[in-house]
């Protein structure tokens, strides 16, 4: 494999999935690695996360720590959740349905955790 597309489709913090997929993407940077935010995974794009009082790691800090991971958000998912009018993590690239789906198919492997 030279490229991998990880997909997150559940909300961050409520489950360990977002943390898990970020860690998996972070260790995969010797390949071309994309993390796609899809459906409730799109909530990970919200700016201003501060998880100290939950005693959990700050997931947006992990995003900034690994600039090698391409972060792609599915625009229709953002729109459905009212996220387009919110401040988003700057590193997040928006992708329309077409681009998002073609990026999934273009990667050597596709992983939904």
């Amino acid at each position: 494999m030279r490229s991998v597309f990880y997909l997150l489709d559940v909300a961050p913090y409520g489950s360990e999935k977002a943390y898990g997929v970020l860690n998996a993407a972070a260790v995969s940077i010797k390949m071309d690695v994309t993390l796609g935010l899809y459906a409730d995974g799109a909530y990970l794009a919200l700016a201003g996360q501060d998880s100290k009082s939950l005693a959990m790691p700050n997931l947006s800090d992990i995003i900034y720590a690994y600039p090698e991971v391409r972060l792609l958000a599915h625009e229709p998912s953002l729109i459905e959740r009212g996220l387009m009018s919110q401040s988003l993590v700057e590193r997040v690239e928006l992708a329309d349905e077409d681009i998002f789906m073609e990026q999934i198919l273009a990667a050597d492997c596709f992983i939904i955790l």
Binding site: G14, L46, S53, L54, E80, G82, L83, S85, Q86
Partner: protein, 103 residues
């Protein structure tokens, strides 16, 4: 219908907008005559100002502060964000004429 009119119905929602549990919660909420809604965990995403979720009018909404902060949700119109979310929830549950529904 054997439900008493004066009973209090407490809804605890921990799922985001597009979850089928959220949908079920809202449909039950609409049938309630005296409801209070507690949002915790991913349930607080329902408060995003631009979210298209509409709570029935007259429903008191409480949201958990640490869950809002973690997720980056800044302004929450129409909801109360107390210092002691879980104490309030438990006190509400403690009254004899209350019923609790968790989603």
């Amino acid at each position: 219908m054997d439900r008493k009119m004066d009973r209090k119905e407490i809804f605890l929602l921990t799922k985001p907008l597009h979850s089928q549990r959220t949908d079920l919660c809202l449909r039950l909420l609409e049938r309630s005559m005296n409801a209070v809604l507690y949002l915790a965990g991913d349930g607080v995403y329902n408060l995003l100002e631009s979210s298209n979720l509409k709570f029935p009018s007259g429903v008191m909404v409480w949201a958990c502060q640490e869950d809002l902060l973690a997720r980056g949700i800044q302004s929450v119109e129409g909801a109360n964000v107390p210092e002691d979310f879980y104490r309030r929830l438990v006190e509400d549950m403690a009254s004899d004429d209350s019923y609790i529904y968790v989603f």
